[in-house]
Amino acid sequence: MSWLLNALAQGSMIALIALGYTMVYGVLRLINFAHSEVLMMSGYVAFLVDDRLLGGYQHGGTRGVLISTAVAVVAAVLLGVGIEAFAYRPLRARARGATARIAPLVTAIGVSMLLQSVAQLAFTATPQKFDPRLAPPVGYVVLIAAVVMAGLYALVHLTWIGKAMRAVSVNAEAARLMGIRPSRVIAVTFAIGSGLAAIGAVLYSTTQASIEPTMGSSIGTLAFVAAVFGGIGSIPGAMLGGVLLGFLGELVKFTSFSGMKDAIVFLLLVLVLLFRPAGLLGSARARRSSRRAWRGRARTFAPSTGGIRRACAGS
């Protein structure tokens, strides 16, 4: 039972971070490599606020962690939206053709490295640790993640901005015809993804990982894998991918390969992608809609030559 809870806790923390990758990919078709550094930076913010300003475990206690988490969420939102506004948005306005995909991707890697170096300079490479007594019980980790994800689900399905997000992710041009401003939707997406990452960062760093400039590349990569595993662009996919990776990691611990946990995770990713290139949940919808689109096209062949023109343009 405690094993199950542990696996769920691991998985839901991964999922919280994976959601940021998948949501940004959904609206922009961009892998935001800087997401892992937003995670790292918000970990630092939470730690510094808690440890230096609120007096850590002795003075701040649980309340201190809650306050510092709130500050970290705000900082992450500002950082995420800032990266979008200063690094990605100008490129979207200028880049054309093949560079429109490559330039933002390279920029994302650049921003990621930049933030890592800034963290090295500002905070040194020495790992920092929350007082272990501040770690929430495993059950709380699962509960917090579940509540946050339920909130996200409600936001995406019940609010105007959520529906706009889903509309932009499937057809940005049609969304603009409805009067939706994609730039606003994109900013909100970055804000939500970054906020979730900050919550994930605090859960991670209070329960197990130490805070260091490179923490993003280890935890972030795992979350990125979870997002691809579940089907990048799909929100339920990121949740499922995260939870599956959590279980997988805990399972491997029982075997004699426990030292090779990451290697096994990546091997599985390669295998899954070989058979389901769009990921576990990404494929069903993508395949269904592409098949339908194809059938729709085929129908247009008969009555007019317009179908042929369109089919050629589409292929």
Binding site: A164, A167, V170, G179, S289, R310
Partner: protein, 252 residues
Amino acid sequence: MRTAHPFRPPPPDRDEPLLDVAGIEVRYGGIRALTSVSLHVRRGEVVALIGANGAGKTTTLRSLVRVVPWSAGRATFNGVDLSPLSTEEVTELGISLVPEGRAIFPNLTVRENLEIGAYLHRNKQAMQESLEDVVKLFPRLGERLAQEGGTLSGGEQQMLAIGRAVMARPSLLLLDEPSLGIAPKLARQIFEAIRAIAASGVTVLVVEQNTRLALEVAARGYVLRTGEVAKEGASKALLDDPEVREAYLGGH
């Protein structure tokens, strides 16, 4: 269907055309897709834009909603110059395009597709009223509100795309080939719905390959040929025009 809208100023002059397009030129790279298109649509009119493949019909509509920019010419809507505006801003003025190929959101339910059509207004009660109007117009959509848009048939998707555009309560509705790839019986139903939308006071500019169907519903028409208006006139005159009959009505 009401078209009154708080953001929209009252019409300044009843005789002024609602949409006035003067000599628009559109280039794709080095190719001129539109040489010079001039047309106008008066308030409450239904106007058809007909022509062969590649004549520039779709490009004309797409340029009016600023998805493709024009390189020369001018277009005004309600007296407002459209050239400096973005697609979203044109939509806010009260122009809705039902794009070619429908472009519904397949991952959203039928209800959500319609709701997102009313995104400009974001008012629960007004949206509910518009939704009831659309369901009255297309009862088939009413039966399928909970279904994902992607599971609808082509004809139903076309109804959804039109319904979604109507949800924005536009004063000008642009329709790009609403009968394309749809069974003749359904196409007729869709044109009946367009007629009903127009009767409620919405001005309509419709692009069609099905010339006869379009001219039966429209009062006037423009014939587009290689990026230019080759002919214009009352629908009846165009239907009787030997050249139009030969080229677009199969010669009988």
